[in-house]
Symmetry: C2
Subunit: 192 residues, 2 copies
DNA sequence: CTGTATACTTACTTACTAGTAGGTTAATAT
DNA sequence: ATATTAACCTACTAGTAAGTAAGTATACAG
């Protein structure tokens, strides 16, 4: 990995952090460049406009999710373990100072975003939904989960709950988030 | 209502709209003053700093919620109807261009907020939770609702789901939000 | 008629924003 | 040795942000 790639990666990492902490309008190029020991122009070099940067962030997160979910799948394979992987991932992100995921961070600014960023975001969410839907189908088939309604509807419901839970985390800390996970388990008929 | 009070109220109304559409960092004093036909300084006159304005917004929303919930309670009284009132309120807010509620809008900027605004926000959420907890208790006692776990935990779960649902609304429109409501009803054992 | 308070406006400052033009350095290719 | 390219930096622009100081119009009290 040469120096250029490194700087670019560090820009994405830092910007990603800022984005999730403060949203698109909550940080500036200086907030990225200063802690990295580079100048604003370096950021502009890699990402000419802020929207270019944003696009890279969404794609990076999407890629990140793909890696994580494939890790869940390799990890155990059982639906229960995959679901717990999602819970663990959420808690981990929150504790790493990223209580708002990229989707949530973008939500506030959604209407101002260029089309391709909106679409990338929508794909990101659709992928998450499809992944969880398959997990729920699997869990129901194997008798691990017990719930009413279609897996797809249940998947949306769980994702929305977690999404909302991240906001609760900001205000009330981990307690409520863990309560949410318990409630989700309970409503999937999982013994705890 | 004199002119002063009117301008102040209009500032709050407009700011509230902007806040819910774009978040705290997503709008400026000009975005408030221009459409109102006044100058930035007029906004500063009523709310010296942006944080003063924010404080007023949170309190206004809190008051608004109190009025709405008391309306739900008067409206029918049955737990089911109160819950539907919450669903209707959410849909109405989304359609009125306010897909992110004040809590969600603040979430992105939460850590930078002054203490009293954070506390006002926390009180707002606690009040919502208590209200819904009582609705769930009532519904269970009267045999309208059927769910597992404590009412308080279920209340948090539902509020988080709705919170997350508002973000889905931004990206996918009303469909998913209605699906969420259906899923919530289903899991409360309500016939639809 | 005068004094005072309210509700502003005009005109300004300071600080920061995204973005750019052009120069510099170091590595690599020919 | 020379040319080229990537990856920056320095120094800047134009625009916008929140915030302020001082002045003005109106209403109302005494």
């Amino acid at each position: 990995m040469n120096q250029a790639t490194d700087t670019k990666a560090r820009i994405i990492e830092r910007a990603s952090e800022l984005m999730m902490q403060r949203g698109f309008n909550g940080f500036s190029y200086s907030d990225i460049s200063s802690p990295l020991g580079v100048k604003n122009a370096a950021v502009h070099y890699h990402f000419p406009s802020k929207h270019d940067l944003l696009r890279a962030l969404v794609e990076d997160q999407h890629e990140n999710l793909r890696r994580k979910t494939s890790k869940f799948m390799v990890y155990g394979g059982s639906a229960r373990e995959q679901l717990e992987g999602l819970f663990g991932f959420t808690i981990h992100q929150c504790k790493a100072g990223r209580p708002v995921c990229i989707v949530g961070a973008l939500a506030a600014d959604y209407d101002e975003l260029p089309d391709d960023v909106q679409q990338a975001n929508a794909r990101f969410m659709e992928d998450s939904r499809q992944w969880l839907t398959r997990v729920l189908e699997l869990g129901r088939e194997q008798g691990e989960f017990n719930f009413t309604g279609k897996p797809a509807a249940k998947a949306i419901s769980i994702l929305a709950t977690i999404q909302g839970g991240r906001q609760l985390y900001r205000v009330f800390g981990e307690r409520y988030l863990q309560d949410l996970f318990k409630q989700i388990r309970r409503e999937l008929g999982i013994e705890t």
